[in-house]
Amino acid sequence: MTTTSSRLSTSQGVPVTGRPGGAGPVQPTVVNDAVEGPFDLVDTVFEVADVSVFYGDYEAVRNVDMKIGKRRITAMIGPSGCGKSTLLRCFNRMNDLIPGTRLGGKITFHGEDLYGDHVDPIEVRRRIGMVFQKPNPFPKSIYDNIAYGPRVNGVKRGLDDLVEEALVGAALWDEVKDKLKQNALALSGGQQQRLCIARTIAVKPEVILMDEPCSALDPIATAKIEDLMQNLTRDYTIVIVTHNMQQAARVSHRTAFFTADVDREGVRHGRLVEYDETSKLFTTPSDERTEAYITGRFG
């Protein structure tokens, strides 16, 4: 909203040449095209190689290849049911919790196979946090919500500082500092979602996965979270699923567009159609399906 310039400046001091004009069919506010250098120059956090995800026999996502850059915001967009959440949950092995889920292909995290035999999913989730679509604070105090992650990870001392730091980091401190002992469920939806972000960063992960974090929020709360995401890229790599194209355009450096292909038997499989710098994807998409989607002709 009003923080365009601060958003730009948060992105690792890469020279900023300014705001592009209102080209592009949906979004006049692509703020970050210039921030992104050539992708090869950015460290790769995740490398997704020929990944397919199965629920039992159903192949929900098929043959995805993509790289996710460090301290970048990567957006995944596409019509609902095309497997965005499914793929996102693979990044911190939350899919392990759904019986019958299977992964084909390979996802590496800093070069290490995320699904290797030696990998402990608990450790994975400590390093790769997740924020869900519907704010899901624990029915406990604000303080206990934030302290929960550190506590289960064995932290006993310095919790007060950790809690403050996390709440400041999630731009919630000023609103809640006088009521840390209050039940978190008394907060508004937007505050609850920022609390969930604070709770995630209290564990000091490297990556934050967000699955439509704003879809249950009003525009003002959404704007606050988007600002927050920009600030978080100083320290964190963010992957966000959104079905809101404007949001992807506003916040992300790179965007992946997914859609669902129907195979000969009439079964729908999620496919990655196009993955590119956000400004490019939204202004000069190379696939006609992307263009159809971003211009609102489909999806």
Binding site: N92, M94, L97, M130, F132, Y148, G149, T200
Partner: protein, 297 residues
């Protein structure tokens, strides 16, 4: 909209209510059921209180049973026995029941036939008559394990009897905890066990407490299996340990009602009041626990 009104609508439809006979009828039926239940309870309570009034005095809990002198007889050994049996039954069946429920809800793969069979059997066990558990307790626990006709045998048998109720209630309570809470916890790097111990169980406590009330209320009134397990009717001492012989209130009451003298019948009614009182005391503890842990989602 502002054009001519649709043909089939009148210009200005009335807002007067229509005649809806079913609404008051259903409400009346609900109230009638409630009234019937409350009426039974009141009649029962006032009946036993008036019947037992003459003997509702300290003699009842200060004295031990006497076969010859109804005016001297009391039920202290039965009261103490009942409290022991219930406490031990709770101590056995709550942890085992809750742990079983956790396993079935959080770990067992419901698509495996053996897990489904366990589930089915638990449902069925809840319906088995209590005398069958008495026979089982006698054969397996008293004789097989050689624990004899003791408090321990009685409590173990009653635990088996009410275990299905505890398991079913605890499973319902655990299932009612939203999955989003588990996901939030696991996504923060908590282990499955940390998630259960710190999030799921505390949230399930109210439901579990309700199940425990139901289970122990059933156990406290059971006489049939204990008759087989040697709850002797004439015990003139309190149990001093779990391997002592014992009696409980339902047995004592049963015994007194069989006596020819009217004084013993009065005594039986007074003992029923005591039994109800213990039941209420126990339930209020459970209700207190339930309210303390009640969560709002």
């Amino acid at each position: 909209m502002t054009t001519a009104p649709a043909r089939h609508r009148t210009e200005n439809p009335s807002l007067a209510g229509r005649f809806r006979p079913l609404e008051p009828l259903f409400k009346g039926m609900l109230l009638a059921s409630l009234a019937l239940a409350v009426l039974f309870l009141v009649v029962l309570l006032s009946y036993v209180v008036t019947e037992g009034w003459d003997r509702l005095d300290p003699r009842l809990w200060e004295n031990f049973p006497s076969k010859l002198y109804p005016e001297r007889a009391g039920a202290q050994s039965a009261i103490v026995g009942t409290i022991y049996v219930i406490a031990l039954t709770g101590a056995f069946c709550v942890p085992i029941g809750v742990m079983t429920a956790i396993y079935l809800e959080e770990y067992a793969d419901g698509s495996r036939w053996w897990n489904r069979m366990i589930e089915l059997n638990i449902q069925n066990l809840a319906g088995v008559p209590s005398i069958v558990y008495g026979i089982l307790g006698l054969g397996v626990i008293a004789r097989g394990l050689d624990l004899g006709r003791t408090l321990l045998t009685a409590s173990l048998t009653l635990s088996l009897l009410v275990l299905p109720v505890v398991i079913i209630a605890a499973r319902e309570a655990i299932r009612a905890v939203p999955g989003s809470i588990r996901q939030a916890s696991l996504a923060l790097g908590a282990t499955p066990w940390q998630t259960i111990a710190r999030q799921v169980l505390p949230a399930a406590v109210p439901g579990i407490a309700t199940g425990v009330i139901l289970a122990l209320s059933r156990a406290i009134g059971e006489a049939a299996p204990l008759l087989l397990l040697g709850a002797v009717t004439h015990i003139t001492f309190n149990p001093s340990g779990i391997t002592d012989s014992y009696t409980v209130l339902p047995i004592q009451i049963f015994n007194w009602t069989k006596q020819p003298e009217a004084e013993f019948h009065t005594l039986a009614s007074a003992a029923i009041v005591i039994l109800l009182f213990i039941l209420l005391a126990m339930n209020s503890v459970a209700i207190w626990v339930r309210n303390r842990y009640q969560k709002r989602w």
